[in-house]
């Protein structure tokens, strides 16, 4: 299994509080991603990174920020959590060279905003 871990695995937080989710990889892959999974919407891309300090927005980036100060860590921050951000969050990594394009996923983080 690819070395990718998410923390925490479960979190309950109150509306208006900041929350940070962490994704850590041991594969030295270039690309890292944050998705949220909601019924009927599949996996929606929040932000992704293509290198240290290089990030870009996905389709549902409002209310989220990210940082990647080291190759192995990609942090997702909810500046002020809202109930609409209750979801399951997945981190993924990928190298994306010609012969190795598979993405590997973390176990997911279930976030509940009350």
């Amino acid at each position: 299994d690819a070395g990718i871990t998410q923390s925490p695995r479960h979190k309950v937080t109150e509306t208006g509080t900041p929350v940070t989710l962490r994704c850590h990889q041991t594969e030295n892959h270039r690309y890292m991603y944050w998705y949220r999974q909601d019924p009927g919407h599949g996996l929606r891309l929040i932000h992704y990174s293509y290198g240290v300090k290089d990030t870009d927005k996905g389709e549902v980036s409002d209310g989220y920020s990210v940082s990647r100060s080291k190759t192995e860590d990609f942090l997702l921050t909810l500046e002020s959590a809202t109930s609409s951000q209750t979801s399951v969050y997945f981190c993924a990594i990928s190298e994306q060279v010609r012969t190795n394009t598979e993405a590997f996923f973390g176990q997911g983080t279930r976030l509940t905003v009350v």
Binding site: Y31, Y33, Y35, G40, H41, G42, L43, R44, L45, Y48, Y50, D56, G58, E59, V88, F90, A92, S94, Q96, T101, E102, A103, F105, Q107, G108
Partner: protein, 112 residues
């Protein structure tokens, strides 16, 4: 902007029969990769099959095969001899130089 659309929220198949899951995508890029991922109730994401856009030959992996129609921007997954363990949510995905986009998913039920 790139989009991936799976128009079948749910599908069902009888064990040992064949089922096809549909996927369409929209992109102006000419070189990209397409994938099908499986997500069982454990939430683990498992790669089922991949297709490189510059290859015309359809990819196959044992009981899984794709029908890749580049001009039509269509990428369907065929599962032959369906097994109970195939029951899961299936996601179609597109990637090009970093951006990895998924469809809404299709839940596959396999009936014994």
């Amino acid at each position: 902007a790139q989009t991936v659309t799976q128009s079948q929220p749910e599908m069902s198949v009888q064990e040992a029969e064949t089922v096809t899951l549909s996927c369409t995508y929209d992109t102006s890029e000419s070189d990209y990769y397409l994938f099908w991922y499986k997500q069982p109730p454990s939430r683990q994401m498992i790669l089922v099959i991949r297709q490189e856009a510059y290859k015309q030959q359809n990819a196959t992996e044992n009981r899984f095969s794709v029908n890749f129609q580049k001009a039509a921007k269509s990428f369907s997954l065929k599962i032959s001899d369906s097994q109970l363990g195939d029951a899961a949510m299936y996601f179609c995905a597109w990637v090009n130089t970093g951006k990895l986009i998924f469809g809404q998913g299709t839940t596959l039920q396999v009936k014994p």
